[in-house]
Amino acid sequence: MEFKLKIWRQKNARSQGAFVEYFISGVSKEMSFLEMLDYLNKTLIESGDNPVAFEHDCREGICGSCSLYINGRPHGPDDLIATCELRMTKFKSGDTIIVEPWRAKSFPVLRDLIVDRYAFDKIMQAGGFISVNSGAAPEANSIPVSREVADEAFDAAICIGCGACVAACKNSSAMLFVAAKVSQLALLPQGKPEAEKRARAMVAKMDELGFGSCSNTGACEAECPKGISLAHIARLNREFLLAVFKT
């Protein structure tokens, strides 16, 4: 297979980036998208060019490192996958593929396709934890949790913090990420006591860091590699509004 790639190249956080075109041939159908980029980088290095910088680690959809905006969609043209799980069979030979970094005020580009997602850590530091000692595993198991609640909490806990929801959103809102983290903890008995305080603190941090507001378009849910549901955003709204109206 062969492709025309238009890839965002940017030296560092301060410099102005631009798209650079590359023609690549000899791509096999079995390659993943990241392997195709590895292959491109090999040819770039051999010809004395700088390789394209992009983030990746586990390459099996669990770490949340990979983060490419491909042909107008975060994690590319497939559903419920991270970029590392995208296969070249999703493209036709001869296609033009546009590769961009996540773009948001709160996710500044560091180099080429790598962005700084430290803002997500700051939101977690604002309240994404349980401040009492919840004990060791046996103690946790002594508190009964119903199957439905455990499943619901797990569905939120599988968020890998990739930031695709921010990239998918026309407002660069981080609501799906924050909602997943708030839900995960608010649903379980150890996290309940601090649920409202947590919701307030994390939302305040999210606003402060320059993420936009939520318009409920559903683009985040559709692009999230883990299929985190909008129902979690509704729960976050509910927790937050209850917290405000009680005080």
Binding site: K170, G212, N216, A219, L230, L236, N237, R238
Partner: protein, 224 residues
């Protein structure tokens, strides 16, 4: 309270509450307007009731405030959200991930606003401050709102504007109805599908209902 309004969720709370208030107003407005189809006397008496009833008169300024708050807060969020992504994506593909109305609520709202100004200047302003005919029903003199409205609805481009307005409104509500419940936190897996269905049915009733009236009079004029 001010710190609440300063949060993004606080602003969306106000937008959803005013949105739902406007939705309930539309239901009353459409019900009243459908009396146009029942004839001159019925409609004029309903219009007279609306103009003189205490509860309705009390709601009128509230309605203006509701519109104003809805517009101010949606405009504020729409504009500030533009600055959250200083460098735009070269290519954006929302086709498979979200509906067109959900991505264009401000465009639809703007079109509704233009329609609203036109609509108020035609009817509301005319009935408050313009020259109106009066008819005697029993022992009360009633404004002939019926003739004012039906006089406009025999002009084809007028009818076209009203149908367009009803379509914009329906599209706005196709997303807005369910979105308001999301913003209030009133959504879960069971109610998600139901809300979407109720919202779609409501939007269709609004669009068809408000279009039907001018089209009915235009057809009546052209054929008779």
């Amino acid at each position: 309270m001010s710190s609440f309004i300063n949060t993004s969720i606080g602003k969306k709370f106000l937008i959803s509450i005013t949105g739902l208030f406007l939705i309930s107003f539309l239901a009353v407005h459409l019900t009243g307007n459908l009396f146009l189809l029942a004839g001159q006397e019925s409609f004029n008496l309903v219009a007279h009731f609306m103009a003189t009833d205490r509860v309705i008169s009390f709601m009128e300024p509230l309605l203006a405030v509701g519109f104003l708050l809805h517009i101010v807060f949606t405009a504020y969020l729409t504009i500030t959200n533009q600055f959250k992504r200083p460098q735009k994506f070269a290519k954006v593909d929302h086709r498979q991930t979200s509906s067109w109305p959900s991505q264009n609520m401000f465009v639809l709202g703007g079109l509704i606003f233009i329609f609203l100004v036109l609509h108020l200047s035609n009817f509301w302003y005319q009935m408050q401050f313009g020259e109106m005919d009066y008819i005697l029903y029993g022992d009360i003199w009633v404004q002939d709102a019926y003739s004012l409205v039906t006089g406009k609805f025999i002009i084809w481009w007028y009818v076209l504007i009203y149908v367009a307005g009803a379509v914009f409104l329906g599209l706005h509500l196709l997303h807005g109805f369910k979105s308001a419940f999301f913003s209030l936190g009133l959504y879960n897996k069971v109610w998600g599908g139901r809300l979407m269905l109720i919202g779609a049915i409501y939007s269709i009733i609004i669009t068809v209902g408000f279009s039907l009236i001018p089209v009915y009079f235009l057809i009546g004029h052209l054929t008779g």
